[in-house]
């Protein structure tokens, strides 16, 4: 029952965040946890709440630039520095995680760590974000793919 709640919450919270703050709507939503193709940005954070756990995401670099362009209002994505794009993706991780936890833990406090971001080349191993995660969520866009993972340290 709670698994069903979480599995329903992830795409809902994800779509709301992407549409409201990043002005982007995915073409397709699934639970496919596989790494997106090509060069990526990875973001992760931990949360301390009831229950505690980890959140991570992998996003195609091209999609990340598009979302950063939308978020910052920059007309020319070439003007955005890699650090700026990474900062926007860190904030995306922060908001995705917070949006889900707010719904799951509305009667409890939770604290999020500052997100950590990392550029990952197409041939490089990605951070082990999916380990222990029972809750992946995947959004497909024309520019690329976003996959995010929740791993709770205790049963939800």
């Amino acid at each position: 029952m709670l698994d069903t709640v979480v599995e329903k919450l992830l795409p809902e919270a994800g779509q709301k965040t992407l549409e409201t703050m990043f002005f982007a709507t995915p073409d397709r939503v699934s639970m496919d946890p596989h790494r997106p193709a090509g060069e990526l940005i990875a973001a992760s954070l931990t949360f301390h709440g009831t229950p505690p756990g980890r959140f991570g995401l992998l996003i195609s670099e091209r999609l990340a630039k598009t979302l950063a362009e939308n978020f910052t209002g920059c007309d020319d994505v070439a003007q955005l520095l890699p650090a700026q794009v990474a900062g926007v993706i860190g904030e995306l991780a922060n908001m995705l995680c917070g949006a889900v936890l707010t719904e799951l833990e509305s009667n409890a406090y939770f604290d999020l760590s500052s997100p950590e971001t990392l550029y990952v080349g197409s041939g490089e191993p990605d951070p082990d974000l999916s380990t222990g995660s029972r809750y992946p969520c995947r959004f497909e866009f024309p520019e690329g793919t976003l996959v995010f993972f929740f791993a709770f340290e205790e049963p939800v």
Binding site: G87, G90, N94, M95, A99, L101, Y109, L112
Partner: protein, 128 residues
Amino acid sequence: MAYSLMIVDDSAAMRGFILRVIELSGLDVGTCLQACNGQEALDLLRSNWIDAVLTDVNMPVMNGEEFVRRMEADEVLKSIPILVVSTDGSDHRVQSMLSLGAKGYVKKPFSPELLRETMEQLLGVSNA
């Protein structure tokens, strides 16, 4: 009348987003100071008058809860209205921040329209 605002958030991207939304809303912003945590914000507030503060909750060095608490404890700063803008939308957190003295709470993600309406209420601005 041009308003002086302060945005407190450890994310430079989010500070920029909030500022852009406020400016695009038509609110007359004369000065907008930015700080990446509560301590930096308090240091700036010692020498700058601000009409309203928008603050996150989860920040390093000094979080939003302690920041609001310190502002309310200061005879001068306590008159500055505070709007919390945070990913933490749990009932406990919202009630806690409002009871500490924050005048409003906007949960992330938020629409530009919601932020604008809340700012107008906070500042007593009417666009009728």
